[in-house]
């Protein structure tokens, strides 16, 4: 007990600067994540979620189930451009909700510094993927799709980040 009290109250000697650097560098090196690693991590999450949404919402006429009901409903109700935006929201935006909810605080703060960059990159890679898999892509529709995808991703991500931050501060 006395030893613990001594531990609490005694701060008379400090380590030297080189020892501080050794410890801090060791921890920093171990915790570091490169932007590429982080990008691949969130791209992986987005891909899984995106593929799941293909079960009920086709993208550029690509579908895993040939179920086009949701697409026709949005197309009929909101017109072609808004429909494409909603498709972008469903395919990429929902992934951002999950990303914001499950990645750790370090990754949240890294993405928070450049959210448009990260989600534009994700969107760009998905468009490339659709082209490779033979989707029918037109410039106008893809622009609206990308707009819906990027904006929703940034908004969803920031909302979830804020909720987690407020929850943490409680």
């Amino acid at each position: 007990m006395d030893e613990f009290k001594d531990f609490l109250n005694n701060e008379s000697v400090s380590p030297n600067k080189s020892l501080d650097e050794k410890v801090l560098n060791h921890v920093q090196r171990d915790l570091k994540i490169t932007p590429t690693q982080l990008f691949l991590k969130i791209f992986g999450i987005h891909t899984i979620v995106g593929l799941l949404t293909l079960l009920f919402c086709p993208q550029f006429e690509l579908s895993l189930t040939n179920n086009h009901e949701v697409f026709h409903f949005f197309h009929r109700t909101f017109g072609p451009y808004i429909c494409m935006m909603i498709c972008g929201v469903i395919f990429v935006g929902t992934g951002s909700l999950l990303v914001g909810g499950i990645i750790n605080f370090r990754d949240l703060s890294i993405i928070h510094k450049h959210p448009f960059l990260y989600f534009s990159g994700i969107t760009g890679f998905f468009i490339l993927g659709f082209i490779i898999f033979g989707a029918k892509i037109y410039l106008e529709s893809v622009l609206f799709w990308a707009l819906g995808s990027i904006l929703s991703s940034v908004i969803f991500f920031e909302c979830i980040r804020l909720i987690r931050k407020l929850n943490f501060q409680k």
Partner: protein, 170 residues
Amino acid sequence: MNPFKNLTDEKLMILYQEDEFQAFEVLYARHRARVFSYLTKRLPHRDDIEEVFQNIFVKLHKSRSRYDSKYKFLQWLYTLSRNELLDHVKKKNINTTQFNEEFHPVEERDISDVDLDDLPLGEQEKKVLDLRINKDYDYKEISHLLNIGPSNARKIFSRAIEKLKRSLYG
């Protein structure tokens, strides 16, 4: 400026568990002198102090996921520091008499739970151990009570600690 500098240790640990380096920086800055002072009082050589100091923070880093924020961080850090110190003493077979007389980490290890009668100690050694540890007498008082010289009391105590250490550690 570090955004986490006003958070409690326990909150910082949660962030650190989520790989946030800046949280570790604050924790390190807050407690580095405490850990270093603790070791300085107990280890005679600078090299040993620095080695154990580094080991403590490496261990803290590796086992951060096992920390439960329900418990006080300082208590956890103290236990970690103490165990690391004891491991070092055991590994390097450092003679306890080299320590500052007031702080023998080995002698304080669960000594109150040890039945002195079960130990392979002489009667006088048991008496000195009991007076020094359980009754907290200094060597002058012990020498007066047992009618021996203070330096002799100190020697008997050191010998008893050696025996006790061998008995506890094998």
